[in-house]
């Protein structure tokens, strides 16, 4: 079955505020380079991996709308729309809700006071939603989503400010494999991961690899697409039966994002 991914053109992307440790408004993104890097990722997905890529219109006042992973978490044809923690990103909620409604999805919204940042903080592994909390998402949203969607939601506390969303340090892959960076999680979350994912299925990104947002990967079948990373990581993926495509996403690292952040599987 063909994967369908939602992306948003970076025409309005830029570092216009600072809401995570990676952002520094004095270190601006290069617009032309950012456009080229996004196009390269778009073509890898659409042309090389035959993904059905859909586009949501970019809006000028929300430069981070390019990071569609944060639009919603999906459950079949239902989109649970994010409630962004920071006001700078909150206008995105209505734009994404509008897109999902117009494209035939059921839209679920959370209570106003419940922060939740979509597939940036909630990823499926073997039918269970593994969700991060503290930096951007309130744990109460996990309970709310579990009740609304009638699915198990495992809560994992993020303890390293550099990995402010769970998708920056945790990436479920085909056949129950998992890329993750243990130091991003507290001891309890690590215990949960180790209990639920067999050791041979765990692909650990070391500190250097995690700093390149290697865990912020897009998985299509047996192929993994990441920002530029180490030869060690490519070999590790190969040993588990995965092909590895690297593409330079340095302009998006300036905002604390990489391949996964720029996509949402729908």
């Amino acid at each position: 079955m063909t994967d369908t991914i939602l992306m948003c053109s970076p025409e309005h992307y830029g570092i216009k505020y600072e809401i995570n440790p990676w952002m520094d408004i004095s270190i601006q993104s290069n617009h032309e380079k950012a456009m080229q890097q996004w196009q390269a990722l778009y073509h890898i997905l659409k042309d090389d991996l035959k993904v059905d890529v859909r586009l949501v219109e970019a809006r000028e006042e929300v430069p981070d709308m390019v990071f569609t992973a944060n639009a919603a978490v999906m459950y079949g044809k239902t989109a649970v729309i994010s409630r962004f923690k920071y006001p700078q990103r909150q206008p995105e909620e209505a734009y994404f809700a509008e897109w999902f409604t117009a494209n035939g999805y059921d839209v679920v919204t959370l209570p106003d006071d419940m922060a939740f940042e979509g597939a940036g903080d909630a990823l499926y592994l073997d039918g269970v939603l593994y969700a991060g909390y503290v930096p951007r998402t309130d744990i109460a949203s996990h309970t709310y989503i579990s009740e609304r969607l009638k699915i198990p939601v495992i809560s994992m506390e993020l303890v390293n400010k550099s990995f402010y969303h769970v998708d920056t340090c945790f990436c479920p892959l085909t056949d129950g494999y998992l890329i993750y960076h243990p130091e991003a999680f507290d001891a309890y979350a690590n215990q949960v991961i180790e209990s639920n994912v067999p050791e041979e299925k765990r692909i650990v990104a070391n500190a250097e690899e995690a700093s390149y947002f290697t865990c912020n990967a897009v998985n299509v079948g047996k192929t993994v697409v990441t920002n530029l990373t180490t030869p060690r990581f490519t070999a590790l993926l190969k040993s588990k039966g995965f092909d590895h495509i690297q593409t330079d996403l340095s302009e998006y690292m300036k905002a604390g994002g990489a391949a996964k952040c720029l996509t949402l599987k729908i």
Binding site: V134, D138, I139, A140, H142, T143, S146, E147, K150, I151, P152, V153, I154, S155, M156, E157, D186, Y188, A189, Q191, V192
Partner: protein, 75 residues
């Protein structure tokens, strides 16, 4: 001061209940579980009611802060 708190969610699978009780005990605040309801199916939520007790208001405030972070609410 005695405060009753409720924690609801996948609190056992996620080890959130264990974590919170460990953290509160680490503050040397008396803490005991009053009731635990385990969700019968994997997707069902569990619920725990627990009590914290201390004469030290600052420690109670710290315990409540920890509890809030883990999603607990006062009963």
């Amino acid at each position: 001061m005695i405060i009753e708190l409720k924690l609801r969610g996948h609190i056992l699978d996620s080890l959130v209940l264990s974590k919170l009780l460990d953290q509160i005990e680490g503050l040397e605040v008396d803490c005991y579980t009053k009731e635990v309801k385990i969700g019968p199916k994997r997707q069902d939520l569990s619920e725990a009611v627990f009590v914290i007790e201390s004469d030290d208001e600052a420690k109670i405030a710290q315990a409540l802060e920890l509890a809030k972070k883990q999603g607990a609410t006062e009963v």
